[in-house]
Each structure stands twice: as structure tokens, then as C-alpha cells.
């Protein structure tokens, strides 16, 4: 490889390698310039006074409050559904399973993690069709169904994080508990899991981000453009990502488009915040290890 070609390659790397960073900056700057003036309490609460809206005295129609609460509830519900199978599955893979069984289950979880999210949404939708044939009118597309589908979406992430963090525990720490007479269960619950708490919480936070941003799943399982505040988990609901998609395809005037930009900034900031939290946890962890 001669000198000129190498120079060329280096130049190529600098130009194309900084492109992702440049695009990230463009997205942020563009969102702030176009949508910055939409930010404010009015974006979320519309023209209703904040306290009235929060206590449910008055309905918010032209604000993002219903979409925000919809997304919030959705994420919490799907996390509640996913956390026990996810963490227990991870513990099983790391601590109990035989190698063959572990490989088999690992393959299944990898496939689930690789499934297009719209397929998972379609599966949720198919469930309502099949249920509808046997018990008409019981379960339609609703918040609960979306949460179930999203839970299925994030379970493989939780399993894999739990498994990886348990596997990364050094042998001396792993053997200390049993040497003192602890049972395997005690060792897992009182030694191994607490030792990797930061990793676990980091993984859970990233899974939350994944659930909050996904649009394809909720689109097929019950998110609609206007449903008002969430009243029950068995009803259709509004959600932030779906609102952004909806506005992009059918906005009718400038004000609506502006609130679409506001919603995009909100969702972006939400995911950024979650990411920041995960990073901080990770760094806290590595500092503790060095001490």
C-alpha cells in the first residue's frame, strides 16, 4: 500500500467517519430551530390550566397530555409485564441451564430480538382476531394488548443483559457465598444480583427507551390519533410516537405541525434522558470497581 493511497484512505475515513456526528447535530439543531418555539406548557396542556388538567377536572384537547400519559402508562405496564420473565429468564440462562438447553433458549431469544417490531404488533393483532372468533367483543386493540406486545419485544433485551451481567462476575466473588454455606438461591439473590445491580438497571433503562420509542407495535395494537385521556387499560389510547407519525402524514395546519415538532422534541429528549441515565450508571459502576 503506497503512501498516496493511505493518505486517501485516511481522508476518506475523516470525511465519512464524522458524517454520523454531523447528522446527529443536524437533527438536533433542526428540531430546535423548527420546533423550539412550540415548547412550553401550552404544548402539553393546551389552553387548560395546568392544575385542572393534572387533576382531571377538565379534558385537554389540543395538548400532548393524553399522548404523554398514554406513553407513560404503556411503558410502565409493559415493564411490569416484562421484568419478571426477563430477569428470571436471564438468571436461568446464566446460572441453571445446561449448555445445550442454554444454546437452544439463547437462539430463541436472539430470534425474538431480531424479529421486526411490526411482526410482534401483527402477532398481537392476530391474537385479537383469534379471540374475537371464540369470545366476540371481549378484547379489541387496547392499551393492555400493546403493553403485552411491547413486553414481548423487550423481554429478550432484559434476558440478555441479565445473563451477560451475571456471567461477567469474577469467580472469586461467585464462590465466596457458597464457601460460607449459602445456598445457590441465596448466593444469587444476596450476592450476585446486588453486585451487578448497576448493569441490570442500565439494561432496564435501555429497555424502557426501546419500549417508549417503538411505533410499529402500538400502531397495530391500539394507538389512535385522538382518544382523550386514558380511562382504562382496555381502551384505545394516544401515544407520543404514534402522534408524531400521524402528524407527519395528515397535519392540516401550521399549528398542528408545530405541535408535531414539539412532540418530536419531547420524545427525543425523553430518549436522550434515559440514555444519559444509563451512561451515568455505567460510569458510576466502573468507578466503584477501580476503588
Amino acid at each position: 500500500m503506497n503512501r498516496i493511497m493511505e493518505r486517501g484512505l485516511v481522508l476518506f475515513c475523516w470525511i465519512f467517519g464524522l458524517l454520523p456526528l454531523l447528522i446527529l447535530l443536524t437533527v438536533i439543531v433542526y428540531l430546535l430551530i423548527r420546533g423550539g418555539n412550540a415548547l412550553g406548557l401550552e404544548l402539553i396542556f393546551g389552553k387548560v390550566p395546568v392544575l385542572d388538567a393534572l387533576f382531571g377536572h377538565r379534558q385537554v384537547f389540543d395538548g400532548l397530555l393524553p399522548a404523554l400519559t398514554g406513553t407513560g402508562l404503556l411503558v410502565i405496564l409493559s415493564l411490569v409485564l416484562a421484568i419478571i420473565p426477563g430477569i428470571c429468564g436471564g438468571i436461568y440462562l446464566a446460572e441453571y441451564s445446561s449448555p445445550g438447553e442454554g444454546r437452544m433458549l439463547g437462539l430463541l431469544f436472539d430470534i425474538i430480538a431480531g424479529l421486526p417490531s411490526i411482526v410482534i404488533g401483527l402477532a398481537g393483532f392476530a391474537l385479537t382476531i383469534i379471540l374475537h372468533r371464540h369470545y366476540p367483543g371481549r378484547l379489541g386493540p387496547c392499551l393492555l394488548l400493546s403493553a403485552m406486545a411491547l413486553a414481548f419485544l423487550i423481554v429478550p433485551y432484559l434476558v440478555r443483559t441479565t445473563e451477560a451481567s451475571l456471567r461477567s462476575i469474577p469467580l472469586d466473588l461467585r464462590l465466596t457465598g457458597p464457601a460460607l454455606g449459602a445456598s445457590k438461591l441465596q448466593n444469587i439473590v444476596f450476592v450476585l444480583l446486588p453486585a451487578r445491580m448497576n448493569d441490570l438497571i442500565g439494561g432496564i433503562i435501555l429497555a424502557i427507551g426501546r419500549a417508549a420509542e417503538d411505533t410499529a407495535v402500538i400502531m397495530l395494537t391500539g394507538a389512535v390519533a385522538s382518544a382523550g385521556m386514558v380511562r382504562s387499560v382496555l381502551e384505545q389510547y394516544e401515544a407520543l410516537p404514534f402522534y408524531i407519525y400521524y402528524i407527519s402524514s395528515q397535519y392540516s395546519d401550521a399549528a398542528e405541525l408545530q405541535s408535531g415538532f414539539g412532540a418530536a422534541i419531547l420524545l427525543f429528549a425523553l430518549c436522550g434522558l434515559l440514555f444519559l441515565l444509563a451512561i451515568l450508571l455505567e460510569h458510576g459502576f466502573s468507578r466503584r470497581l477501580k476503588r
Binding site: 436472539d110 425474538i112 421486526p116 408535531g260
Partner: protein, 297 residues
């Protein structure tokens, strides 16, 4: 106490097995709902090029081709960017910039797809319309450009990991021979780490193929067989979303389950090929004594 220990193990096993088996249940459910189409003898016709619900022809081939084209184009745009960024973060950039780049790239992996799509509609689409292609600006190439950005972080992270897993003694040997960064990349890192590189590329492919929102928002969604990449096209994923939103009629509706099955089979093939690559890759690394770089975080 023994009892509690045993029952916890059984509980964990049930949880792991249960979530894994749900995948198989989902496959059966979609096959069951797509069955009428297969049974009615239109299975071969499914893979024809014509989609015309009035004329009772439900060929999904245009969508399959749309998906493939968008995915491969996205990969084509994304590869130079991803490899360069990985080289920057591992070899070329000064230390402080490396950290920044790595954090920015991990952050990019978490940006909601719908936000990318939303920004692209108002920023990239007018640009494409004005300067590059005729028509509305919603086209296969527009969607694949945005998808390229979407899948880049996944690939970059794998490329960087692959380079970091090259044995330390090899790096030291090459460094002490006075290799410049690009020489090190071309003659040492690339030949040593290519299985990991391939895994990253396959995962990027999977992400591009599985993404719904970008192609739904940017590709234009026409069902005709696309003639060129500057035309509008429809992917399998966008097709599912559009048909569900449109109506509930019988045969047209069952095709989406066939689309879903196609996507699932594709995902399974990708994961299996990653497994093969991993197997191949680990066979190479085992020969060395200390496969992990000691200084790595």
C-alpha cells in the same frame, strides 16, 4: 429451604421456556390466519408481481423486492460511513474525540425511528425533490438514505468491538514494526476481525429489513413494481401497516400474515447465519492465549 431453591429454579425455567415458546406460538398463529390464502390454491400466485385486490391477484413480490432494494441500498450507503467511523474511533482520532464519538454513536442507536422519519420528511424530502430526483421526493433512495443513518450505530459498535478483540500481542507486533494506522487496519485488523464485521453487517441488514416507520413515511408506498431507485416503492413492513389501517376485507387481509411470516423467516435466517459466523469467528480466536485486550474498559 431446599424446596424454595428448587421451586425458584423451576420458576426461572418456566419463565425462560415460556417466553421462548411464545415465538413458536406466534409463528403458528400467523400461519393459521394466513392459511386460507395458501389453501385456496393462490399460494404460487402470491409470488407474482401483480397486486390488484379488485382483480383478485395478491402478488407480494413487489413488496419483497421493495424491501430487498431498500435494505441493500441502505447497506451500501451505510457501509463506508460505518467503517470510517469505526476506524476513526479505534485508530485515527485523538483520545478525547474517540470517547465523544463512541458516546454519540451509542446515543444515536437510541434515537426514536419516528423522529428520524419526521425530520427527514421536512428536511431531506424537499432536498431530494429539488436537486436529485423528479416527482414527489418520496422514493426508495430517500428511505434508504435515512435507513443508512439508522443502521450505522449498530454496525459501528460491532466493528469497534471486533477491532478491540484482536489479540493484544498481534497489535503490539504490528505497531513495533512501524505500521501506520491504515496499514494496521488493512493488514491486521480487517483480516483478523472480519467475522465480527460480518455479524455487524448482518445485524444491520436485519434492522433495515425490519424497520417499518422509515419506509412507511419516506418510500412513497406505491404497489407497482419499482423500475428504478428514484421511484416510489413499498416494503413488506409498510405493507402490513397500510393494509391493517385500510380495511378488514377477507383475502387482501390474509396476505399480511404471509408478509409477516416472510419477515419472520428472514429474521430467523439472519440469526442462524450470525450463529454460523460466530462459530467460525470463535474458532479463530481460541488459538491465541489471551484473546481480550487487557487495557480495554
Amino acid at each position: 429451604m431446599i424446596n424454595a431453591v428448587k421451586s425458584f429454579e423451576h420458576f426461572c425455567r418456566a419463565m425462560a421456556m415460556g417466553s421462548g415458546l411464545l415465538l413458536i406460538a406466534i409463528l403458528f398463529m400467523m400461519a393459521f390466519l394466513g392459511w386460507p390464502l395458501i389453501e385456496s390454491g393462490r399460494f404460487i400466485a402470491l409470488f407474482s408481481t401483480e397486486w390488484n385486490p379488485q382483480g383478485k391477484s395478491y402478488g407480494i413480490l413487489p413488496m419483497v423486492m421493495g424491501s430487498l432494494r431498500i435494505t441493500l441500498l441502505a447497506l451500501f450507503f451505510s457501509l463506508p460511513m460505518s467503517i470510517s467511523a469505526a476506524c476513526l474511533t479505534e485508530l485515527l482520532a485523538p483520545r478525547s474525540l474517540r470517547r465523544l464519538l463512541l458516546i454519540a454513536i451509542r446515543f444515536m442507536a437510541g434515537i426514536p425511528t419516528v423522529v428520524y422519519g419526521f425530520v427527514a420528511i421536512f428536511l431531506l424530502v424537499p432536498l431530494m425533490r429539488e436537486y436529485f430526483i423528479q416527482g414527489s421526493g418520496f422514493s426508495i433512495i430517500t428511505a434508504s438514505l435515512v435507513l443508512a443513518v439508522l443502521i450505522a450505530p449498530t454496525m459501528i459498535i460491532f466493528f469497534v468491538n471486533g477491532m478491540q478483540s484482536v489479540p493484544r500481542p498481534y497489535c503490539a507486533a504490528v505497531d513495533s514494526l512501524g505500521a501506520r494506522p491504515m496499514q494496521k487496519f488493512v493488514y491486521l485488523l480487517l483480516p483478523q476481525a472480519y467475522p465480527t464485521f460480518l455479524v455487524g453487517i448482518v445485524l444491520g441488514l436485519g434492522r433495515a429489513m425490519g424497520d417499518t416507520l422509515i419506509s412507511l413515511m419516506l418510500a412513497g408506498n406505491s404497489v407497482a413494481m419499482p423500475e428504478s431507485i428514484a421511484e416510489s416503492g413499498r416494503t413488506l413492513t409498510a405493507h402490513i401497516a397500510l393494509v391493517i389501517a385500510a380495511d378488514f376485507s377477507s383475502m387482501e387481509f390474509t396476505t399480511i400474515f404471509v408478509c409477516g411470516l416472510t419477515l419472520t423467516l428472514f429474521a430467523i435466517c439472519l440469526i442462524l447465519s450470525i450463529r454460523l459466523l460466530d462459530h467460525f469467528g470463535s474458532g479463530r480466536v481460541i488459538q491465541v492465549e489471551n484473546p481480550r485486550r487487557p487495557g480495554h474498559e
